[in-house]
Symmetry: C2
Subunit: 208 residues, 2 copies
């Protein structure tokens, strides 16, 4: 099974690498970072953090697509090479998915019209403007379209996908392999749990 993670300027590294590490450890899965051209892609820190090792042209028919989010999403909504590849790839996929604001790219491709979907809490409600129905869950399935909440949620989504594509036992084994027994130091990981006065500050961290 081939999993493609497209990279575009301004993506957030953890959105991509959480699912990458989970899927790459799963037997029978091959994961590729893809872009128009081979080579490093500039991330949301302005650095060439991750490398595209496959071009869009070389991987037209992946089984699973995982679109990361990040501050670069807005510009990526007008990236014809990305959207054309996504549209063609979606005709082949078993699952077309996103992490964080990556759901806006799925929406721009027309996949989420009339579907339930999620995104980073700070932008989630804006999915309605694209014809999607925003849902405040961490991982949202609607048919073969799966969207995850902000940044770190890609790990939860990827393990859930592994369970659906293989079996619970395999996903449980991958979870143990990455020792995913989280102990967040605070209980502020969602806007419902965090004090209200942190919300605007958290958004500012992402936008600067």
């Amino acid at each position: 099974m081939h999993i493609a993670i497209p990279l575009y300027p301004g993506f957030t590294a953890l959105d991509a690498v959480g699912p990458y590490t989970v899927m790459a450890l799963t037997p029978g899965c091959e994961v590729s970072f893809v872009a128009s051209e081979l080579g490093p892609v500039i991330d949301d820190q302005g650095k060439p953090t991750l490398v595209a090792t496959t071009t869009y042209a070389a991987l037209p028919g992946p089984d699973i697509v995982i679109v990361p989010g990040g501050p670069g999403t807005t510009e990526a909504l007008g990236d014809r090479a990305l959207l054309d590849w996504l549209t063609a790839a979606d005709a082949h996929t078993r699952w077309t998915t996103s992490v964080c604001s990556g759901s806006f790219i799925l929406a721009a491709a027309g996949f989420l019209t009339g579907r339930k979907a999620t995104s980073h809490w700070g932008w989630r409600d804006q999915l309605a403007a694209f014809g999607a129905e925003p849902v405040a869950d961490r991982v949202v399935f609607d048919g073969k379209y799966v969207t995850a909440a902000g940044v770190s949620s890609g790990i939860d989504m990827a393990l859930t996908l592994v369970a659906r594509e293989t079996d619970d036992r395999t996903a449980q084994t991958v979870q143990l392999a990455i020792e995913y027994d989280p102990e967040p130091p605070f209980d502020t990981g969602s806007p419902e749990k965090a004090p209200a006065d942190l919300h605007a500050e958290a958004i500012a961290l992402i936008n600067t």
Copy 2:
């Protein structure tokens, strides 16, 4: 504050990128992936996933070092360039830290002798052979040396470091920014929680 994450062949991407994303979002922090030479470094999947953007020579005095783990650790224990840089950098650091089997590299540099430390659950007890005292906690502090458990634990460690270096409020805001409100699909993230018959299979996933 400058955070250095050294990359060596066979590192696990999530070990490095969890802390990278957390620290990079923290005001006043600059995070660099470092290696002997600039350019992509081959990860545990045999792919040039992450890029070193700074050389060891160019960053001799970081404030924080975070050493990732991975199947390449064993070979890295004999990497003189890495160990020499670590030894020199440690003279400057406020925190010298590791994720997963990266603690064996700290131990090989002599930092953990007589200290409490942790690692991935599959190898943790072997830290005793290096003179450290293995502890089955997710994040272990002993002086300025901080070690985290397997792979995904680097996110918890990084948020804890942010709280110590700045304040709780800033760390809480970063946690909200990355929507770190984990919902693992199973409760199998530690060997105590996972069925015993999954243990060997999880180790096999990492070693193949």
